[in-house]
């Protein structure tokens, strides 16, 4: 959903005038070049590039990352913000190392998504939309992720965890807490 900036919810000051520009390794630059090569118009690569910048800059588009994107794509800073604030997977604020995204839509809901969210909430001590103070976990309720036949489900990063039960969920969270969780899908 689009995020709206109002006097009560202003655009962060530091976002308006980035002070520095992010620098990436040669490997990352090569990855970015591969994406740019797909399109006749540079701007088309905006979403793939945002995912890369987000991955490399600690999980969200920080101001230096935004400045980099604008420079690399030959667009204005505002163009980057315009797009970033439209897409729910592009983070404009820091998120936890383990972003627990529980599907809340109908098929998951009627098979117990509510209980899954509640269990996460109780265990992590945060409500959906919040991040733990140590920055380890964020919890979100998200819309249909296309796992309706294996409901209820949640996603961590790009990994799907399906046919969830209370025990299964506990095990997943245990692994995360011990810092042993391995992301299986490369983003």
């Amino acid at each position: 959903m689009s995020q709206q900036f109002t006097p009560n919810n202003p655009l962060p000051q530091e976002a308006k005038v980035p002070v520095e520009m992010a620098v990436f390794s040669l490997d990352v630059e090569a990855e970015i070049d591969r994406h740019l090569a797909k399109y006749p118009v540079k701007r088309s690569a905006i979403l793939p590039l945002m995912f890369i910048v987000q991955r490399e800059r600690g999980g969200y588009l920080d101001p230096p990352g935004v400045a980099y994107l604008a420079d690399r794509l030959d667009v204005r800073i505002t163009d980057i913000w315009e797009v970033a604030t439209f897409y729910s997977m592009i983070n404009t604020e820091p998120v936890g190392t383990y972003h627990i995204q529980v599907c809340r839509t109908l098929s998951c809901k009627i098979l117990g998504a509510g209980k899954i969210t509640e269990q996460c909430s109780t265990r992590l001590g945060i409500k959906p939309g919040e991040t733990t103070p140590d920055g380890k976990f964020s919890l979100s309720e998200v819309e249909c992720l296309g796992s309706c036949g294996t409901a209820p489900m949640l996603q961590i990063g790009f990994d799907f965890h399906e046919n969830l039960t209370a025990e299964k969920l506990d095990k997943i969270l245990d692994t995360c807490e011990r810092g042993e969780y391995v992301f299986t899908v490369k983003g």
Binding site: M1, S2, K38, Y39, P40, V41, K42, R43, S44, A45, I46, L47, P48, M50, F51, L73, V75, E82, V83, F86, Y87, S88, M89, I90, R104, T105, L106, S107, K109, I110, L111, V142, E143, C144, L145, G146, S147, C148, G149, T150, A151, Q155, F158, D159, F160, T184, V185, K186, G187
Partner: protein, 437 residues
């Protein structure tokens, strides 16, 4: 989870059970890229479009528009480049068929895209996959690379004059990008707002050039249509709905999964009670949403004993639609007020904000639903919800506004009791209390 065909030979799901089904070797051992060879060996683009027309294939993304006709709208003489875009933004609640088609058989999609590109004179094609399906993008990228190394993607495919590139593209979590013009805006690097039609994408689509946008399942049907001929494919289904359809079954059934059925499968009740293993825990069937969350909800009384035929025409007669084939089964424990509230919250979250009726309307709908859920329902709220829907349906910029209104309208009509129950507390209050309110 079950994956397979019922009532027909598997076509789209032919290879999904094979070991290493996503590799080029397995795909080729089981008939892969034969259709592309047949096309390049002597079919003209017009021949290909002709076969697709004969097949009576209709778009599997939801709208059900005849694919051959869509292809024939692309101007032959345009000097601009032409684009084929695969809509793999599968985000209609209850739908997950495209995910398994791409996961298990990515080359089938690549072959379908190449044939479409040949028919339309396109040299560049994109697969727009929703951002959450990142693992599928990795699978597709690997498959495209394999195909490129085998001379099936890139320059001079199979040694012919035909050259074509296939690229993957990622979305980033926006339901609206499943709407084809919003998808094109997103692919151009803009916010995913829908565009005014006309001009239709066939005339001015991606970068203002002629473009065809097709769903994954539509494109994966193309290789078989070419191989067996359009007529034979059509005969697998009915006259107006050719071929087979892949359904995503979820909810309260014993065997959810991905089911391929011939178009015109004769009985929805049998499908639920036998093919899908019956109701979970032996409970009673209450309702089915047969084509993804946007279509009209069907009460059990419209299904049991009614021999509902599962194709485009049959479901319209039964009071709903095929849509994307996201088949959600609900048992007696489900409160349709709650399930409709859940879907309305989905539409509010996913409204792109471009037009007022949808942006404001879905917001108001959720406000009313939440107030009722708090126990503050008023008898006139059912009418209020219908009035709000009336101000969205047919008045929004793109069809997703209608999609937000239809579930509510049909739920109130078909399950008035579930709504009335929530509207009772106020109804029983005294006249003085209401006046003082």
């Amino acid at each position: 989870m079950f994956i397979g065909a019922i009532g027909c030979e598997p076509l789209q799901l032919k290879r999904v059970g094979l070991e290493n089904s996503r590799t080029l070797d397995v795909y080729r051992q089981h008939g892969g890229y034969e259709a592309l060879k047949k096309v390049l060996d002597g079919m003209s683009p017009e021949d290909v479009i002709g076969e697709v027309k004969k097949s009576a294939l209709r778009g599997r993304g939801g709208a059900g528009f005849p694919t051959g006709m869509k292809w024939s709208f692309v101007p032959k003489d345009s000097p601009k480049p032409k684009y084929v875009v695969c809509n793999a933004d599968e985000s209609e609640p209850g739908t997950f068929k495209d995910r398994f088609l791409m996961e298990r058989d990515p080359h089938m999609l690549i072959e379908g895209m190449l044939i479409a590109a040949y028919a339309l004179g396109s040299r560049t094609t994109y697969i727009y996959t929703r951002g959450e399906y990142r693992y599928l993008i990795n699978i597709l990228d690997a498959a495209i690379q394999e195909a490129r190394e085998a001379g099936l993607v890139g320059d001079r495919i199979m040694g012919t004059e035909f050259s074509c590139e296939v690229f993957t593209h990622t979305g980033a979590g926006a339901y609206i990008c499943g709407e084809e013009t919003a998808l094109l805006n997103s692919l151009e690097g803009l916010r995913g707002h829908p565009r005014m039609k006309p001009p239709f994408p066939a005339i001015a689509g991606l970068y203002g050039c002629p473009t065809v946008v097709n769903n994954v399942e539509t494109l994966t049907a193309v290789p078989d249509i070419i191989k067996m001929g359009g007529e034979a494919y059509q005969k697998l289904g009915t006259q107006k709905s050719g071929g087979t359809k892949v359904w995503s079954v979820s909810g309260h059934v014993n065997r959810p999964g991905v089911y391929e059925l011939p178009m015109g499968y004769e009985d929805m009740e049998k499908f639920i009670m036998e093919d899908c293993g019956g109701m979970l825990g032996g409970k009673q069937l209450k309702a089915v949403i047969p084509g993804g969350s946007s279509v009209y909800i069907m009460p059990a009384t419209d299904i049991v004993g009614k021999k509902v035929r599962m194709d485009y025409e049959g479901l319209v007669v039964a009071g709903s639609m095929v849509g994307s084939g996201g088949f959600i089964v609900m048992d007696e424990t489900v409160d349709v007020f709650e399930s409709t509230k859940n879907l309305t919250e989905f539409y509010k979250h996913e409204s792109c904000g471009w037009c007022t009726p949808c942006r404001e309307g879905t917001d108001w709908l959720v406000k009313v639903f939440k107030r009722i859920a708090k126990g503050e329902g008023r008898p006139e709220d059912a009418q209020l919800l219908l009035d709000l829907c009336d101000n969205i349906e047919g008045k929004s910029f793109c069809p997703l506004g209608d999609a937000a209104a239809w579930p509510i309208q049909s739920a109130i009509k078909k399950f008035p009791e579930d709504f009335r129950r929530h509207l009772m507390p106020m109804a029983t209050r005294t006249a003085e209390a209401v006046a003082a309110d």
